[in-house]
Amino acid sequence: MEMRRRSDDDQPNEARERVARAREADELTPSASARTEDPVQMASDQPSAQPGALKLAADRAVVEPIVVPNMVWTSANPIAYGGGSTPPAITHLRELEEEDKSDNGRWGRFDIIPTKSDYVLDLIRLNSLWPLLSGLACCAIEMMSAATSKNDMDRFGMFPFRASPRQADVLIAAGTLTTKMAGPFLRLWEQMPEPKWSVAMGDCTTSGGRYKRSYSTVEGIDRIMPVDVYVPGCPPRPEGLIYGMMKLQQLIRERRGQWAERAVGPTVPQGI
């Protein structure tokens, strides 16, 4: 690969000016107020602007990612990545997301994106959610059905059911949680590495369901661990589970880089 350092004369000033403008705007208004007026802004970039969204502390607010022109290298192939000749028309990550990616899914030139790492990494995480293979009861059959040929969860980026909690991202609580199983189940959750999410599948895990008045069941897993998505049904259809997992993907996308502290109980904001 041919490496060369460009001189400043090669660069048109337009892109640089845009970057500079964006930096000024970020410094002046670090919160969402400046971004609200931006016509390019997607609604999913502003979870805090939606009614009932989590309010974040000032130090947890995300700096908007800025794309810096590539000054480091150019591609040996003059066709690939635009030949490295033209400066990026894109200066912000959100524009990068909206760009036409028809060229074999590539995201254009290799540019440097200074941002909070979780802001980008969560995009990767949500498209490859690894659930934990831990069936508890009836819902586990439907969970397996969701993973096999007829309703293939793999299509939506939730593929390999991992048998070990140390390799899993999502805990799908599928089935009745009894008091005897509650301890081991909580240990499974605690063994999973962050970032991790949990989906309560079925009525038993959302509220107790048909065993609510039993002497030996936990009435909803949100009594012992945080829950991100509730999928009601006894049991829900596999499509229902897939819909719940897609809702989880949406949740991760909307709150990317902005995860508040976890707490036991439903993650519904105050006042809702």
């Binding site: 009861a137 009836c138 040929s149 009745t176 009894t178 909580l186 240990r187 605690e190 030996s216």
Partner: protein, 406 residues
Amino acid sequence: MAQQTRVRSLDDPDVFVESPATIYDAVPPYPPRTEREAEFYHLRDGEMLINLGPQHPSTHGVLRVVLKIDGERVVDLDPVIGYLHRGVEKICENGTWHHAISNCDPLEYVASMFSEAMPVLACEKLLDLQVPRRAEYIRVLAWELNRIASHALFMGWLSLDLGGLTPILYGFIERDEIVEMLNALTGQRVLFNYLRIGGVNGDLNHDFMSRLGDWMSHAAEQVENQTKLINENEIFVGRTRGLGVVDRATALRMCATGPVLRATGIPYDIRRAHPYSVYNELEFDVPTREEGDSYARYLVHVDEIKQSIHIIDQVLHQMPDGTVMAKIPRWIRPRPGRAWVSIESPRGQYGAYVMSDGSDHPFRMRIRDPSFFNLSLVGHLMPGNLIADTMAIMASLDPVMGGIDK
């Protein structure tokens, strides 16, 4: 030994959980209560304990097994059950007879059409109720379809525990097809809640019949394809033939029923031995094998699928006209007394011993689940085998933890 302790959760210091040591150490936190426990938890030279479950993909639910191993060989094992104990029998006592149907549904969640039949048949026996013949035929149709769905999953799971991923995909294709069909009939995919005291909930409909017709046209062929994939597979045969052998005396002594018993050569099938519903009007064989090993159990399952297809074929030809519900009062009060009913579920004899005190709810309902008795054979089957083969043997017994723990 150490007392059982409770520690603060890592995630939330306000929540107390059992100490990790008491959960994940195989040794229980109390002194041995029986001679058997004292013997099992005393280790000789070279022996060690391994904890398997309650979360393990090959335990088919939340079963926990403590294995005592010497090298790669299993010396002894101690199954720990109760991780799915939901108190179904007690809940049934607190509701009416109608409530008991849906409460018994999740017992055998792979084939719940069988477990929900328990309060229905018991109550009908106490009421001396004559069920319309059309309803009986529809019940048989639903039971046999559900049996095929359950057996298709068994074939897939057995191969999955041996390391083959493909058969489970075929098994779920078959199962999903049948379950969608039953969904058109009952409105549910897993916990059907379809049988009613005195009949069934709703007649056959067009959606169900068209799906059934589609499926019947290729059902036999699909079974052939699936068996072609597995039957002669060298790895599959090598890891099932001659492993987990049960002899007849042990199977009878341990109350094993269903395919586990029939694989030892005893043709005991409740549908034939004590005919219920309209099974005495239908023609079918009771497939048996002589060997009693995992492979024989697998072959019995395959033959039963073929027999079930044969039964469904007859049911569709002999289906009488008429109503699907007997005329019964809405408020049911069976006579005081006791009743024992049993049916042939995919796993064996599913029975219930029910007491009624003349009120509108069951006084006591004791449920006999075949998985529990079949699973109790593991103590005889495992010792001497490799650790990896314990999964295959356990899968060939086809336990469902919902029924075992109730």
